[in-house]
């Protein structure tokens, strides 16, 4: 019983964090067709900026300011970088964002140092919310739930229920027609890129103190963010959400259960005596997202919810 409750709780939180990180990436891809390799770098910038702002004032200021700053930076990158490269096609865009990863990486090391910074959970949220089966459930994890849910709701509302959202979605399908109707399409793209980066920044603010804020965090998050987006179907926000939650649940469930290959394949005659039989499910947990990715791509190349031909 406790195993199931914990796996569900932890899976939900990890899944939501993954979704926060990848939503911006899939948003940018669906709107602009740009696969932003530097997305995890914006996530890292969010964490570092939040640390700096939180040191100077409070965490609450950081929660608001850091994503805004990252968003502005993203807009600048689009305006003076991507837009220029765009004329040369998708490969040039990919290479540009790929290079950006290294630039941001080095900048972070120069500004904040090579080692982890002490970005802590704010005191107001640093208490156990409740006790479940002998383990405390930290209030900050509940806070992650709230922020992620609020972000998800706001994103859905803006895209589907506001005029701005309609224009953005229209600009995706018929950019020329939207332009003819008097909308500034480049400005729309710039703000979409900015919003996407700001979402990554927000994930950084939340993820940075849940985990560790160090220069390696972008490189570590990069692959998993792409897995989420590709698994969900490139460009599908709902797909990214499903993929993130799926990975969150599967990965935490794998850690929580005490099975080895011998238990699973006992019928096939696999025993603890063999090297294969001793492999525990928990030790495979970090491989699960990639395994899932391969399986889904074989069965359904467009991803779980992908409609776009890429």
């Amino acid at each position: 019983m406790d195993v199931i409750v914990f796996a569900l709780l932890n899976g939900t939180i990890y899944g939501l964090l993954l979704f926060m990180m990848s939503s911006g990436l899939t948003l940018i891809f669906s709107m602009m067709g740009v696969l932003n390799f530097a997305h995890a770098s914006f996530y890292m910038l969010g964490a570092y900026l939040a640390y700096t702002v939180a040191e100077a004032s409070t965490f609450w200021a950081a929660l608001f300011l850091a994503p805004v700053l990252v968003g502005l930076l993203g807009m600048a990158v689009e305006r003076w970088g991507l837009r220029k490269v765009h004329a040369n096609g998708h490969v040039a865009e990919l290479l540009f964002t790929f290079g950006l990863v290294y630039v941001i990486d080095e900048l972070v090391k120069i500004v904040w140092g090579r080692t982890a910074v002490n970005y802590r959970v704010p005191e107001e949220l640093n208490f156990p919310l409740m006790t479940l089966f002998g383990a405390d459930f930290p209030a900050y994890r509940a806070f992650i739930l709230v922020v992620a849910a609020a972000m998800l709701g706001a994103l859905w509302f803006i895209l589907n229920r506001t005029r701005a959202g309609t224009v953005i979605r229209a600009a995706l399908v018929e950019p020329d027609m939207v332009g003819c109707l008097g909308h500034n399409v480049p400005a729309i793209f710039m703000s979409v890129f900015g919003i996407g980066c700001a979402l990554a920044g927000l994930a950084g603010v939340i993820g940075g103190n849940t985990f560790i804020t160090d220069p390696a965090m972008a490189a570590q998050m990069g692959p998993i963010v792409f897995v989420v987006v590709v698994l969900g179907g490139l460009g599908s926000l709902a797909g990214a959400f499903m993929a993130a939650m799926l990975i969150g649940y599967l990965q935490t469930a794998a850690i929580s259960i005490d099975w080895s290959m011998a238990d699973i394949f006992a019928a096939a005659g696999v025993t603890e005596a063999t090297e294969f039989g001793r492999i525990s499910v928990a030790s495979l947990s970090t491989a699960i997202p990639f395994l899932l990715l391969v399986l889904v791509l074989i069965a359904r190349p467009s991803g779980l919810m992908g409609a776009r031909e890429s």
Partner: protein, 408 residues
């Protein structure tokens, strides 16, 4: 400096590419980037201080140590690339520790390089890689370990478990040679020392890949563990204890590397009486005026770090003594001088066992407390000797099965 200037002048005058410089070059190959880069930075600072102090005191038989820094990036293949580069730069004394898999790769490369280049041999000072095999089945004449191996460190920890009368032990570690060494040593030693102790969990997790340790911590809590033994280091260490603190796990964590940077800060006040680690000593023990001056100089020069890696200072002192005894910086005479060398260290007598090149020394189990002279991670907490935590050199030593192959 004078040596370099002279080389330059000679190079200009003769048009030659260079001249064998009298500097004794130390090649630092450890990780300075990536998830474990922080540990590499901290260990490097200790070498910088040790080198500068030895040079200021007249160097090694009049010649200075020169610390050459290469970033091995934490990957065996990259370490070997940097090793080759350093060899080309004239380095013959290497420093590497942060990752037993890295050290194993380098030892293998050294064995081959030395066999192929007689007269040009190089040796390795290992100041932290603790996989037992490096001084057992894979022991090498060119490798010297200045830190307790997994079995020795765990020996001190299991002694402590038995002394404190813990009943249920949970073992968790990183899924590679080092983590498995720690787990195997813990299980076998506990079975031998106190058969009544129950191992309620024995878990290995992927190395440097786990973001959220909460599920692991909840397994530990659910298993009803009284105490946890872990060999984790770097980010895996910090994240594990951070999750434990967040989940309200109050059982002690007996660690090998809990003293590494950031761990105390991550735990905060929860570290008091909960976090333990085994080391060659700590600055809050009764230390000599000379040692105090060393620690103060370090903390003044590197305010971001704590003086944790005393072994690095010891290793260079012994290397200096060996070069002076041998009358040469060449690897073979230096290695022969290091074999069996005894030395009076700050924290007790030490011996470089000739059989397997493993340093034998007193070990101390430390824990976290408030109100100490030297604090950790810029908190108000510091490391202090745990009650009954001292393990003598002879008690800490374990037998070896190494069959050392020595050059003619």
């Amino acid at each position: 400096m004078t040596c370099k200037a002279w080389t330059l002048a000679a190079g200009l005058a003769l048009g030659a590419a260079g001249h064998a410089c009298a500097d004794i070059k130390l090649g630092y190959l450890d990780t300075l980037s990536g998830p474990t880069g922080g540990v590499g930075e901290a260990t490097l600072t200790t070498f910088q201080l040790a080198v500068d102090r030895i040079n200021a005191a007249g160097g090694v038989a009049g010649e200075p140590f020169a610390l050459e820094v290469y970033d091995g990036k934490g990957k065996p293949d990259e370490v070997l690339v940097q090793f080759q580069k350093a060899i080309d730069d004239g380095v013959r004394h290497f420093l590497l520790a942060n990752g037993s898999s890295l050290v194993a790769a380098l030892v293998d490369a050294l064995n081959k390089y030395n066999a192929r280049n007689p007269g040009e041999e190089a040796l390795l000072i290992n100041y932290g890689a603790s996989a037992t095999e490096l001084t057992e089945e894979n022991c090498s004449f060119w490798h010297f370990r200045f830190t307790p191996h997994a079995g020795m460190a765990v020996n001190a920890l299991t002694d402590y478990v038995v002394k404190q009368g813990f009943g249920k032990v949970y073992v968790i570690g990183q899924d590679y040679v080092w983590g498995r060494n720690v787990a195997d040593a813990a299980v076998s030693q506990l079975a031998e020392k106190a058969p009544g102790i129950e191992i309620v969990g024995n878990e290995l997790h992927p190395v440097n890949k786990v973001k959220d340790f909460t599920p692991y911590v909840q397994k530990i809590i659910s298993a009803g563990a009284d105490v946890v033994i872990t060999g984790n280091w770097g980010q895996d260490m910090t994240l594990l204890v951070k999750s434990a603190a967040d989940s309200g796990a109050t059982m002690p964590f007996l660690t090998v590397f809990g003293g590494s940077i950031g761990t105390v800060a991550a735990l905060g006040d929860a570290a008091v009486g909960q976090l333990y680690y085994v080391s060659e000593g700590n600055s809050n023990m009764e230390i000599s005026a000379e040692q105090k001056a060393l620690v103060d100089a370090y903390e003044a020069r590197f305010p971001d770090y704590d003086y944790t890696y005393h072994r690095n200072v010891l290793a260079l002192k012994m290397l200096k003594a060996a070069i002076e005894t041998a009358g040469s910086a060449d690897a073979i005479p230096v290695a022969k001088a290091l074999e069996g060398m005894t030395f009076d260290d700050e924290f007790g007598p030490v011996e470089m066992r000739a059989d397997d090149h493993q340093l034998l020394q007193n070990l101390y189990v430390n824990t976290v407390a408030k109100g100490l002279a030297y604090t950790a991670d810029k908190t108000d907490l510091g490391w202090t000797l745990a009650e009954g935590g001292a393990v003598s050199k002879d008690r800490a030593a374990l037998p070896t099965t190494c069959e050392m192959k020595r050059p003619e």
